[in-house]
Subunit: 381 residues, 4 copies
C-alpha cells in the first residue's frame, strides 16, 4: 500500500513519543495492538492504511532527543524497557525527520516555512499523503479576532505584524495549504475557525478534533447514558483529576484548565439533557506523573426520589491511553482523505472529548457512527 | 384503555410493595416517574398501557399486611413517608386482592388452584389480561428431571406425588394455563424449561426473564463494552456485594448465591469475548439493609501492555431500583400479549441480568432492541 | 450541681441547633450519647458538668426560628424526626433566650451590649458560669492591625469609629469582659490576638480553639501518624471535599476557603515532619447538603522505594459530627474555668483542626493529653 | 559489634528474598531505609544490632535459586532492577548458606538435624547469636494433641512415629533447642503451644509473633481506635482482600483462609470493645500478584444515631511491606536475647496482626510499648 506520513506537532512530547515507539514496536511484532481501535475486527478495512504504512516526522520547540524522552517514559512506567531498546535504530531514523519550529517576520512567513517542512518530508519519503496531528502543549483560550471569520481577511492579517492565530491554528493553516489533513488531539483552537474551514474546503482537506478522550470523560460517555436510559436523575457529578507530567503542569494554569474542565462536563449535558451540579477539577501533582488518578462522585435520584450514589476512581496512564488513538486517527484521517472526504470528520467523535459538529456524545452511538464511517470508506464508490 | 392485571408472586415482599406503593403514588401525581423506563419519550407508545391502567393482586406465603411492610420500607428509607401515607386506602384495596398460596395433594392440584385465583381476579376486576410477575424469594437451583423436557411428561408427573417443579416454575405453569403472560424478575428457574415453552406456545403466552438488572450488573453492562470498544484488555474484574434485607439473607445461602454470582459475571464474557479473572462475591450484612453497597476492581492492560485500573462503588437502594422495572415489565409484557406476541420476549433483555435467548449483553444494544420492540408494537398490524 | 450556661454565637445555625436539640434529646433519655467524648468512661469525672446541667442561649444575626431550623435539619436527615418532635417545648424555651446581635456607634459599644446580654442570661437563669461558643459563619481572614497587639491600644481603638476587630474577636472580647470562657469552633480569628490573650489573663478566663475537627482532618490525624510510625514516605496527599449547606456556600468563597484548606494540610507537616505534595480542595455542591463527601488519595513509598497508594472516602454528616463536640467543649471548658484554669486550653487540641499552642497533632497523643487534663481537674487541689 | 545470624524458614520465598536483597541494598547505601521502623530516631539504640551486622541463611523445601526469585520480584515491580543487579554477588553468598529441609524417621530426628544446620551456620559464620524467623507458607490450623501441653509429653511423642507438630512448631522446637530466639511472621502455630513455652523458658530463648501486620489490619489498628475515641458506633466493617502470588494461592484455601480472616477482625473487637457486623474476605486473583488491593466499608452511627460511612482502598506491595519488618524483628529479637530477655516478647505487638499476650491492639499504644521496650534494652542493667 501507499505510505502515509504522520507529521506530529509536539513530536518530542509524551504522547508523540509513546505513539512513535509504540508503532515501531507493533510493527516489529513485539506486542499486541491493545488500545488500537482500528485493529478491532469491526473496523478492519482495506481502505485503512496499516500500522506498517506509517512514516513519522514532526515539529517541536524543544530539542530533547527521542531516545532521552523514551528513556524517561520507560522510567515512568509508560513504555516497557524491552520495547524502547528494540526500536532504538528506527527511533533514531524518525529523529532525523524532526524539524525545529521555523521563525519568520510574519505569521504568514512562519506558515509557509511549516508547510515547506511538511512538503519536503512528503517528497523526501515519497509519501502519498500526510496527516498533520497536533499533540503539542495545550494553549490558553484565544481572543476573538475579525480575521478568524473569513479567509480573505485572515490571509491579509497573517501578512501583517500581529499574532492573529494561536500556534495550533497556524499549524492547521499550514497543513491545509500543504494539501494535508489535520487532526487536533488537544483542546486548543486548531481548525475551529470559519476562515480555516474555508481553507480546508478549498484544498479538499479533511480534519478532526478536539481533545483526545482518554480517561474520566471516556467513562462519563458510557455512564451518563446509562443513567439516562434508566430514567435516573443525576443530581451531582463532581470530578477531581490529579495528574503530573508536562501536560499536568500546563493544565494547572487556570486559563488552560478552565477550557479543559468545561469540555469535560459537556458530555453530561449532552447525554442527560440537563446539567447536573458539580464541576470537574484538575490538580497538578508532580509525583503522580503520567499515571492520572481521577475520582468522580455521582449522586442520583431513583424511584419516588430515593437518593443513591456512585463513585469511581480511574488510574490510567495518560500517554498510553492517548498514543493508540493518535495512530488510529492518523490511519482513519488518511483513509478519509484518500476516499475524497473533506471538511470536518464528525464521524470520528468517538475519539474526542469535545467533538466537532452536532454529534452524539454517548460512546455507543459514536461507535456506531465510526463503524458506519469505516464501512463507507471501503464501499466501492 | 382496557385495564391490565398485575399478579405478583411474593406480593408482600420489598420489591412488590415498593412497586405497588410507587404505582399508586405516581397515579396520584405525587412524584415524578423516575426510574420508569417506559415513561421516557423514546418508549412512549399508545400500545403500552399506562400506569393508571394497572390493577394489582398476588400470592404470598407470608401474611404480613401491606401497610406494615410499607411502614418498614419507610423506616428503611426506601419509601418516602409522605407517599406511604397518601395511598393508604388504595393499598388496603390491593391487600384485599392478595391470596395465600393454595395447597393440594399434587402439584397439579396446586397449579389449578393458583390458576383459579388468577382467573377469579381477572373476572372480579374485569381485566382484559393479567401479567403474572415472580418477585418472590430466590430459590436454590433445581435438580434436572426428565419431565422438564416435554409437556406430555410434565402433565403426567405433576399429577403424581413428587415435587417435580420448583415454585417459580409451577407459577409459570399456572400462569400459562390461565392464558396469562409471565415475567420472572428473580434468578429462579421460572419458565426456563422446554416443557413450559411448549405450554406457553400452546396458550399463545409471552414470557420474559430472568433476574432484574438493578445494580452492579447494570454498571458492568456499560463499562465492559467500553473496554471492548477501546480494545483494552480486562485482566481482572472482581466484585463484592454487601447487602441486607430479606433477599440478602437468602442470597447468603451458598447454593442460591452461586447461581446469582455466576449470572453476574456472564455479562463480562458476553461483551468482552473472554472471561477475565476474578469473581463476584455476595455477603450478607444485616445493617446494610436494602441499600446495597457494591465495590468492583477492574485491572486492564492498554497500549504495549501498560497496566491500569479502575474501581467503582455503588450505593443503590435495591427495591427502589427494582420496582420501576417491575412496572415497566408489566406494561410491556401486557402490550406484547395484546399485540399477539407469544414465547420468550428476548427484546426485553435490557431489564435482566441473565436474559433469555441469544441476545446482546451490552446495555446500549439492549436499549436499541427495546426501542425497536416498542415501535413494532405500535405499528398498525 | 451548679448549672452552666452555654451561649452560642450563631445560635440559629445548623451546628448550634443540632447541639441544642441533641442535648435536649439526650437529657430526655431518648438516645444514647454517641459522638459525645465526655461520656466515655475514660473521661468520666465529677469535675465535669453533666449534659443535664447545661442551659442554652445565644446571639444570631438571623431570625429563623429554632423549630423551623430543626424541621429543615430533620428533612435533611441530620436530626431524627422523633427527637425534634419530643423536645419541641424545651426548644421554644431556649428560643426565648436568644438575642439579636446588638448595634451601637462603636465596636466598644457593641461589645458592651453583647456582654450585657450574656450577663442578663447568667443572672436571669441563675448560672454559676457561662461558656461562650462561636459556631457562627466562618469569616474571611482579617487584616493585621496594631491594636491587635496590646490590650491598651485595643481598648482605645474600639472606642473609635473603625471596625478594628472581626466579629469572632469582638465576641471573645465581650466574653472575657463578662468573665466568661470562650471557645472558637470555627476557623475565624476569635481569641487568637495578643491583646485578647492579655484580656483573658486579666479576667482569669480560659479559652479554646480553633475549628472543630469533624471529618477528613480527623482521619488524617490517625492515618498520617500510621505512615510515620511505619517509616513510610508519604509523597502525595490530595483531598477533595464536597459539601453543601450554609457552611459549604460560605467556604466556597476563595478567601474563606484558603484559610480552611491550609489548616487541613497542617496536620500532615506536623505529624510526618515534612509536607507531602497535594492540597485539600473544597467544593460547594448544594445537593450534597450537610452530608459531606471527602475523598483523599495518598501515594507513598515503602521499602526500596516501592510505590503504593491508599484512597479513602468519607461520607459524614457535618453537623452531627460537630454537635457532640460542641457539648463536650462546653462541659470541659466550664470545668476548667471552675478549676481555676485560665488562658489557652492547649489540652483540648483533640477537638480542633488547628489547635492553639505548640501541641501534638496526632490524635492518640491529643487523646492522652485530654485524659490527663480531665484527671487533673478531678484531683483534689 | 557482634554479628547476628538471621535464619529464615522459607528462605526462597517472596518475603525472605525481598528482605535479604533489601538488607544488602541498604548496606551498600543504595537506598534509604524506608519501611524500617528500627531506623526511626525514636527507636535508635546502641543495644540494637545494625543492618550491616546481619548474616543470612535458612531452610526451604524449594530449590529455586535466589537470583531467579529476585528476577521474578523485579519483574513484578517488588524490587528495583538496579538493586537486584548491584547485590548479585552477595546474594550468591547467602545462597550458599541455604539448606534443604532435613528428613529423618521421627520428628525428633528432623528437629535435631534442623538444629544442627543452624548450629553449623552459627559456628561457620562465627555468630554471637541466631534469630530463626518463619516466613514460610501459612499452614492449615493444627489439630489439638495432648503432647502440646507439656514438654515431657512432647519430647516423648516426637520420638514416636506420629507427626505431632506442624512444621512451624517443629522449627520453633529446633530453634529453642539450639539456644536461638524465634519469630513467627506467619499465622501458623509456631511457638504458641504450652510445651514450647516451657522449652523456651528452659533455654532462655525469647520469641515473638504472629502474622506480620502489613496492610488492611495496619489501617484498622489506627482507624478503629479513632472511632472509639470519638464515641462513634461502628455498625459494619466489611473487608475484601484481593491478592495473588504464592501466599495468595495458599490463602485461597478455605482452611488457611479462615484462620487469617479471623485474626484480621480481632483488632476490631479488641479496640472497639464490641464486634461489628461484617467479615474480612480474602480472594485469590493471580493477576494482582504481590500488589494486594484491599477495600473496606465501614458504616457507623454518630450523634442521635445519624448513619455515616467510610470506605478505603489500599494498594500495597505485600512483600515490600513485610520485608523491612522482618529485618526489624530480627534486630529487636536479637537485642532482647542479648539483654537476657526470654519468653514471649509482648512488647513487639506493633509488628503483628495477632500478637502474643494480653496486649493493646491500637497501633499508637503498641508504638508506645515498642519505644519503651527499646529504651529498656539500652538502659544499663
Ligand atoms: N495524554 C492524554 O491522555 C491526552 C488526552 C487528551 C489530550 N491530550 C493533549 O495532548 C497534548 C500533548 O500532551 P503530552 O502529555 O504529550 O504533553 P507534553 O508536555 O509531554 O508534550 C508537548 C510537546 O509539545 C511541544 N510544544 C509546545 N509548544 C509547541 C509549539 N508551539 N510547536 C511545537 N511543539 C510545541 C513541547 O515542547 C512538548 O514536547 C496536550 O495538549 C494534551 O492536553 C493528551
Ligand atoms: N431488589 C432488587 O434489586 C432485585 C434485583 C433482581 C432480582 N431481585 C429478586 O426479587 C425477589 C424479591 O426480592 P425482595 O427484596 O422483594 O425479597 P423479599 O424477601 O422482601 O420478598 C420476597 C417475598 O416472597 C415471598 N415468598 C417466598 N416464597 C414464596 C412462594 N413460594 N410463594 C409466594 N411467595 C413467596 C416472601 O414471603 C416474601 O414476601 C428476589 O428473588 C430477588 O432476588 C431483586
Ligand atoms: N459542621 C462541622 O462539621 C464544622 C466543623 C468545624 C467548624 N465548623 C464551623 O462551624 C460554623 C457553623 O457551621 P454551620 O454549618 O452551623 O453554619 P450555618 O451557616 O448553618 O450557621 C451559622 C450561623 O451563624 C449566624 N451568623 C453569621 N454571622 C453571625 C454573626 N456575626 N453573629 C451571630 N451570628 C452570626 C448565621 O446567621 C447562622 O445562623 C462554621 O463557621 C463552620 O465552619 C463546622
Ligand atoms: N507479605 C506479607 O505482607 C505478609 C504479611 C503477613 C504474613 N505473611 C506470611 O509470610 C509467609 C511468606 O509469604 P510469601 O509471600 O513470602 O510466600 P511465598 O509462597 O513466596 O514463600 C513461602 C516459602 O516457604 C517455603 N516453604 C513452604 N513450606 C516450607 C517448609 N515446611 N519449610 C521450609 N520452607 C517452606 C516455600 O517453598 C516458599 O519458598 C506466609 O505465611 C505469609 O502468610 C506475609
Ligand atoms: Na481506588
Ligand atoms: Na466510595
Amino acid at each position: 500500500m501507499e505510505t502515509t506520513g504522520v507529521w506530529l506537532i509536539g513530536a518530542r512530547g509524551s504522547v508523540a513519543v509513546t505513539s512513535v515507539v509504540g508503532a515501531l514496536t507493533l510493527r516489529a511484532g513485539l506486542a499486541e495492538p491493545l488500545g488500537c481501535v482500528t485493529e478491532l475486527p469491526e473496523l478492519s478495512s482495506p481502505a485503512v492504511p496499516g500500522l506498517a504504512d506509517l512514516t513519522f516526522g514532526g515539529h517541536d520547540v524543544s530539542d530533547l532527543t527521542l531516545d532521552k524522552k523514551a528513556e524517561s517514559l520507560v522510567a515512568a512506567g509508560v513504555l516497557p524497557s524491552r520495547a524502547a531498546e528494540a526500536v532504538g535504530a528506527e527511533l533514531a531514523a524518525v529523529q532525523r525527520e524532526l524539524r525545529p519550529v521555523p521563525e519568520a517576520g510574519t505569521q504568514l512567513g512562519v506558515a509557509r516555512l511549516i508547510a515547506a517542512d511538511i512538503d519536503d518530508f512528503r517528497r523526501r519519503r515519497n509519501l502519498e499523503r500526510v496527516v498533520v496531528i497536533n499533540v503539542s502543549s495545550t494553549e490558553p483560550a484565544v481572543a476573538p479576532h475579525p480575521a478568524h471569520q473569513r479567509l480573505g481577511l485572515l490571509d491579509e492579517a497573517l501578512a501583517g505584524p500581529d499574532r492573529v492565530l494561536p500556534p495550533s491554528s497556524l499549524y492547521a493553516y499550514a497543513a491545509f495549504t500543504a494539501d494535508c489533513s489535520y487532526v487536533d488531539f488537544t483542546p486548543s483552537t486548531g481548525a475551529r475557525l470559519p476562515a480555516l474551514a474555508e481553507l480546508a474546503a478549498r484544498h479538499g482537506s479533511p480534519y478532526a478534533g478536539h481533545d483526545g478522550k482518554t480517561g474520566e470523560t471516556l467513562v462519563k460517555s458510557v455512564l451518563a447514558p446509562m443513567f439516562a436510559m434508566r430514567h435516573l436523575r443525576v443530581r451531582t457529578w463532581s470530578g477531581t483529576n490529579l495528574l503530573g507530567g508536562g501536560d499536568g503542569a500546563n493544565l494547572a494554569d487556570p486559563d488552560t484548565n478552565a477550557a479543559k474542565a468545561g469540555s469535560k462536563q459537556r458530555v453530561l449535558a449532552e447525554t442527560l439533557g440537563y446539567q447536573p451540579q458539580g464541576s470537574s477539577h484538575i490538580e497538578y501533582v508532580d509525583d503522580i506523573g503520567d499515571f492520572k488518578t481521577a475520582w468522580d462522585l455521582i449522586t442520583f435520584s431513583g424511584f419516588l426520589g430515593t437518593p443513591m450514589r456512585m463513585e469511581f476512581s480511574w488510574h490510567g496512564c495518560d500517554s498510553a491511553l492517548a498514543a493508540p488513538l493518535v495512530l488510529d486517527l492518523a490511519r482513519l484521517t488518511a483513509a478519509a482523505h484518500a476516499a475524497g472526504r473533506s471538511g470536518p470528520l464528525t464521524d470520528l467523535a468517538f475519539f474526542f472529548k469535545d467533538p466537532i459538529g452536532d454529534v452524539p456524545h454517548a460512546l455507543p452511538d459514536q461507535w456506531a457512527a465510526l463503524v458506519a464511517f469505516v464501512r463507507g470508506l471501503h464501499a466501492p464508490s
